[in-house]
C-alpha cells in the first residue's frame, strides 16, 4: 500500500511533469496547427482568388483607348436616367465622384457634368468579392465605363441629381485613372462661404481654385456659370442678328492705341512694335463708314491696367455694338437696352436651373429689370445723390462708391438692377464723344449699370472729321497718331453710336457674384498668367 502510495506519488510527479510537457507539446501542436491552418487557408484563399473569381472579365483597367476598335455601344447620359429606363441594361461613361465600400457592397456616385447618380456593386451572381474590392479602390475623379441595370429606388436619393433610380453594376472598367491625391476636393470647392467656417470644414480659396482650374471647373457651380455665360453669348448673337446686325471680326494687333493711348499692351512686331487692341472701337466705326449699318463683334479685349480689383481683368471678352442711326442717338440706346432685356429674359426663362445651382453656393437676390429699360439723366442722378448727402460737382465723374450708392437709390425707387444713365458731362468723356446740342457742357453719352456697377459705356460718336479734329486738339491729342481714325470720316459718314459690354462682368453681375474671376474661364489679371 505504501509502495503503492510511493509509486502513486512518483507517478503523480511524473504525471505532473508529463502534464507540463504535454501542455507545452499541446501548445506547440496548436501553434503548428494554426500555422498550418493559416497556410492552408491562405493557400485556399489564393486558390479561391485564382479559381473562384468568376467575374474576372467583368472589371479591370482597360487598355488606353487608342481607337483600336469602334464599338457600336450606346452610352446613356446620366441626365436621361429616369424611372422610365427601369430594369434596362445600359452602358454609362462617367466620373467616379465618390466611393464608399461597406462589407460585401460598394456604393459609387457617378458624375457627368452637373448630374450624378448612385451606383451599387454588390457581391452576387454577377459581381465577385474581388470586383467589389476593385470598385472600392478606384480613385476619385477617374473615368469609368459601367454596364448596369437601372433600378427604381424606394427612398429618394437626396444627394444625387437622379433621385429616383440607381444603377446595379454588372461590369466596370477604368478608362482613365486619376491620381489618388487631388489638389482640391470638389465638395469643398462648392461649399457656400461661411458654412465651412462654422462647421470647421474646409473651403477652397480663390487662388487654389484658379491654380487647379480644370478640377474647379468640374464643380456644379462652375458648370452652371459657364453654361449661363454661353447662353449670354448666344442670346446676344441671336437678338442682334434678328435686329439686322452683322457680326464682324476685327484685328487684335493694331498699330495705334485706339482709346486715348494709356493702358495698352505693347508687343514686338517684327522690327517694330504693335499694340493689343483695347477695344474694336475704331474698326466698328470704320465698318459703319463702310455702310454695314449695324454691326456687332464678340472678341477678346486687352487692358494693361495694373488694378487688382474684383472687377478688372487684363483680358476679357468684349461684346461690342455699333450702329448708324437716323435722327437721335436714343435709337442706339433703345437697341442696346432692348438687346440686354432680351438677354435677361432669355436667362430668366431658360437658365433657371443654372441660376439656382449658382445660388446654392453664392446666394443672391434674383436679377430685376424693367422693360423698356429705365433711362435717367445725369442731373437726376446728381439730384438723387445730393439728396442722400453726397457732395459732387456738376461736371464731376461718378466715383465707384457713388456709383454703388446710386445703384442702391435707383433700386430703392424703381426696383430695377439695370438702368441707363444718359447725358454725361462732356469733360469726363473721350474726345470722340458728340457734345450735347443744347448744353455744350453735356454730351450725348451714356453708361449702363447692372446692380450698381458700370457694364457699358457708350456715346454718339463724332462723325464729322472737322469737329473731331477740334475736339482732339482740345484734348491735346497728337493728331498724327489718330490721323487714320480722323481720315475715315472724311468721305461721308452716317451719324452713329454704340458701346461695348464685358461678358464676364455681365455674367458676374447677373448672378450676383462678387469676383469677375469666377466668370472668366482662365482669368488674366496683373498677377496671373497661368493656367
Amino acid at each position: 500500500m505504501t509502495k503503492d502510495t510511493v509509486q502513486g506519488a512518483m507517478e503523480e510527479e511524473q504525471q505532473a511533469q508529463s502534464k507540463k510537457a504535454l501542455k507545452k507539446q499541446q501548445k506547440e501542436a496548436e501553434k503548428a496547427a494554426k500555422k498550418a491552418e493559416k497556410q492552408t487557408k491562405l493557400a485556399a484563399e489564393q486558390q479561391t482568388t485564382e479559381e473562384e473569381d468568376f467575374a474576372k472579365d467583368r472589371y479591370g483597367v482597360s487598355a488606353m483607348v487608342q481607337s483600336q476598335q469602334k464599338l457600336d455601344r450606346e452610352l446613356v447620359r446620366i441626365q436621361d436616367l429616369t424611372p422610365e429606363k427601369a430594369d434596362q441594361l445600359i452602358w454609362v461613361r462617367a466620373r467616379v465622384h465618390t466611393s464608399r465600400a461597406k462589407g460585401k457592397q460598394c456604393f459609387l456616385v457617378l458624375r457627368q457634368q452637373q448630374f450624378n447618380v448612385q451606383a451599387l456593386v454588390a457581391v452576387g451572381d454577377r459581381a465577385s468579392k474581388q470586383m467589389v474590392k476593385f470598385a472600392a479602390n478606384i480613385t476619385k475623379e477617374s473615368i469609368v465605363d459601367v454596364e448596369a441595370v437601372v433600378r427604381k429606388v424606394e427612398m429618394r436619393i437626396e444627394s444625387c441629381s437622379q433621385q429616383d433610380v440607381e444603377l446595379h453594376v454588372e461590369r466596370i472598367f477604368v478608362i482613365s485613372q486619376a491620381e489618388p491625391r487631388l489638389p482640391l476636393q470638389l465638395e469643398d470647392a462648392v461649399r457656400p462661404d461661411g458654412e465651412g467656417e462654422e462647421e470647421s470644414r474646409a473651403t477652397v480659396n480663390q487662388d487654389t481654385k484658379l491654380d487647379n482650374r480644370v478640377i474647379d471647373l468640374r464643380t456644379t457651380t462652375s458648370q452652371a456659370i459657364f453654361r449661363l455665360q454661353s447662353g449670354v453669348c448666344q442670346l446676344f448673337r441671336d437678338t442682334l442678328t434678328n435686329k439686322g446686325f452683322v457680326e464682324i471680326q476685327t484685328p487684335k494687333i493694331i498699330s495705334a492705341a485706339s482709346e486715348g493711348g494709356a493702358n495698352v499692351f505693347t508687343v514686338s512686331y517684327f522690327k517694330t512694335s504693335a499694340y493689343l487692341a483695347q477695344s474694336p472701337q475704331l474698326y466698328k466705326q470704320m465698318c459703319i463708314c463702310a455702310d454695314f449699318d449695324k454691326v456687332f463683334c464678340v472678341g477678346p479685349v486687352f487692358r494693361a491696367e495694373d488694378s487688382n480689383t474684383h472687377r478688372h481683368l487684363t483680358e476679357f471678352v468684349g461684346l461690342d455694338i455699333e450702329m448708324a442711326f437716323n435722327y437721335h442717338y436714343h435709337e442706339v440706346i433703345d437697341s442696346i437696352t432692348d438687346t440686354m432685356v432680351q438677354i435677361f429674359k432669355g436667362l430668366r426663362d431658360n437658365f433657371q436651373t443654372e441660376i439656382q445651382t449658382v445660388n446654392k453656393q453664392f446666394p443672391s437676390e434674383p436679377f430685376k429689370f424693367l422693360e423698356p429699360t429705365l433711362r435717367l439723366e445725369y442731373t437726376e442722378a446728381l439730384a438723387m445723390l445730393r439728396e442722400a448727402g453726397v457732395q459732387m460737382g456738376d461736371e464731376e465723374d461718378l466715383s465707384t462708391p457713388n456709383e454703388k450708392l446710386l445703384g442702391r437709390l435707383v433700386k430703392e425707387k424703381y426696383d430695377t438692377d439695370f438702368y441707363v444713365l444718359d447725358k454725361y458731362p462732356l469733360a469726363v468723356r473721350p474726345f470722340y464723344t458728340m457734345p450735347d446740342p443744347i448744353n455744350p457742357k453735356n454730351s450725348n453719352s451714356y453708361d449702363m449699370f447692372m446692380r450698381g456697377e458700370e457694364i457699358l459705356s457708350g456715346a454718339q460718336r463724332i462723325h464729322d472729321s472737322q469737329l473731331l479734329t477740334e475736339r482732339a486738339i482740345h484734348h491735346q491729342i497728337d493728331l498724327e497718331k489718330i490721323k487714320a481714325y480722323i481720315d475715315s470720316f472724311r468721305y461721308g459718314a452716317p451719324p452713329h453710336g454704340g458701346g461695348g459690354i464685358g461678358l464676364e462682368r455681365v455674367c458676374m453681375l447677373y448672378l450676383g457674384l462678387h469676383n469677375v474671376r469666377q466668370t472668366s474661364m482662365f482669368p488674366r489679371d496683373p498677377k496671373r498668367l497661368t493656367p
Binding site: F369, R375, T379
Partner: protein, 321 residues
C-alpha cells in the same frame, strides 16, 4: 400791514442731511417771494395792473403786424412771384383746351419739396390685375396742368402685360427724349405687388400704399383740398366709400352707395358741392369698375355724363373695355 423788506440773515440755502426714515415736509421757512419778483408781482402776489396793460398793448401790436405781413404776402403773390412764368405757361395751356379749373392753385414745390434742379419723378407700382383707373384720370388732369413725362414699364416680376396697359398713359410725348424739359415725371411700373405703391423720394418720404392714398397725394398737385375741414373730410369720406364699398363691397353695399350718391347729387352738381373734386374722380371710376353704371339712378346717370364731358376719363374707360 405794509413792511419794508429785509435781506435774509443767513445764507440762502443750507444743506442739511436729512434722515431717510422720515417723511418729507415742505420747508416752512422758505421765502416764496423770489419767483414772483420776476413777474413784477406785488408783495401780496398780485400782478401790477399797469404791467398787464402794457402786455396787452404789445400783443395787440404784434397781432396787427402779423396781419400786415399776411396782407403784403398776399399782394406779393398776385403781383410777382418766382413762379410767375410757370403760372403763365400753365394758364396759357389751360385756356387753350381746359374745361375744368381748380380754384386753389397747388404748387409743385409745396407738395414735392424744393426743386432739385432735375426731373421730379413719381413712381407708381401697380399690379396689372388691378389697373388703377383713378390714377389714369389724375394723370390726364396732371398733363393738362404741368409738362408731364409719362413712362410705362413692365417689371421682371410680371411675364406679360396686355397691350392696352402699355399704352394707358397715351402716346409718347414728342420731347420725351429730353427728360430735363419736363416738370414732373409719371412713371407707371406694372409689377407683381399686392397693393398699389407710390414712391417719390427715397430719402425723405416713405412709400405711399393703396390707390386711394396715392390719389389723394396726386390730387394735391392739382388743387388744394377744400380749406374748410368739414368739406375736406367729406371729400375723403367719398373716396373711402368709393374704394371700400363700391369697388370691394357686396351687392347690398353697392346699392346703398348708389342711393347715397343719388341723393347727394340731387342737392349739388358734384359730390363735394359746387366744385369738381377727387370725390367725383374716385366714385366715377369705382362705379365704372363695379359695372353698375347702366343700372344707376337718374342723378348718378346725369353726373356720369357730366364727368365724361370733362374729357379726362377716356383712358380709364378704354381700359375697362
Amino acid at each position: 400791514m405794509p413792511m419794508y423788506q429785509v435781506k435774509p440773515v443767513c445764507g440762502g440755502e443750507i444743506k442739511v442731511d436729512l434722515p431717510t426714515c422720515m417723511y418729507k415736509l415742505p420747508n416752512v421757512h422758505e421765502q416764496p417771494g423770489d419767483s414772483c419778483t420776476s413777474e413784477h408781482a406785488l408783495q401780496n402776489g398780485e400782478v401790477d395792473p399797469a404791467v398787464r396793460a402794457l402786455e396787452a398793448r404789445q400783443d395787440e401790436i404784434m397781432r396787427k403786424l402779423y396781419e400786415l405781413k399776411a396782407a403784403v404776402e398776399g399782394l406779393a403773390k398776385t403781383v410777382t412771384t418766382p413762379d410767375a412764368d410757370l403760372d403763365l405757361t400753365v394758364s396759357s395751356s389751360l385756356s387753350s383746351q381746359s374745361t375744368t379749373t381748380f380754384k386753389g392753385i397747388a404748387d409743385l414745390d409745396a407738395v414735392l419739396g424744393k426743386d432739385p434742379g432735375a426731373l421730379r419723378d413719381i413712381v407708381i407700382n401697380a399690379n396689372p390685375a388691378q389697373p388703377p383707373l383713378t390714377l389714369l384720370v389724375l394723370h390726364s388732369l396732371l398733363c393738362q396742368r404741368y409738362r408731364v413725362l409719362s413712362n410705362v414699364h413692365v417689371h421682371s416680376s410680371v411675364s406679360s402685360v396686355p397691350p392696352q396697359l402699355l399704352s394707358c398713359l397715351g402716346p409718347r410725348h414728342a420731347d420725351s427724349y429730353a427728360r430735363r424739359l419736363f416738370q414732373l415725371g409719371f412713371t407707371l411700373i406694372w409689377k407683381d405687388v399686392p397693393k398699389l405703391q407710390m414712391k417719390f423720394s427715397v430719402q425723405s418720404m416713405c412709400p405711399i400704399e393703396g390707390e386711394a392714398n396715392v390719389a389723394r397725394f396726386l390730387f394735391k398737385l392739382l388743387a388744394l383740398y377744400p380749406s374748410d375741414p368739414a368739406a375736406a373730410t367729406m371729400v375723403d369720406n367719398w373716396v373711402d366709400t368709393a374704394f371700400f364699398q363700391l369697388a370691394e363691397g357686396s351687392t347690398k353695399e353697392r346699392a346703398a352707395v348708389l342711393r347715397a350718391l343719388n341723393s347727394a347729387l340731387g342737392r349739388n352738381p358734384w359730390l363735394a358741392g359746387s366744385e369738381f373734386s377727387l370725390a367725383d374722380v374716385a366714385c366715377y371710376c369705382c362705379v365704372l369698375q363695379s359695372g353698375s353704371a347702366s343700372s344707376a339712378p337718374a342723378n348718378v346717370q346725369r353726373w356720369i355724363k357730366s364727368c365724361e364731358n370733362l374729357g379726362h376719363f377716356g383712358p380709364a374707360k378704354l381700359l375697362l373695355k
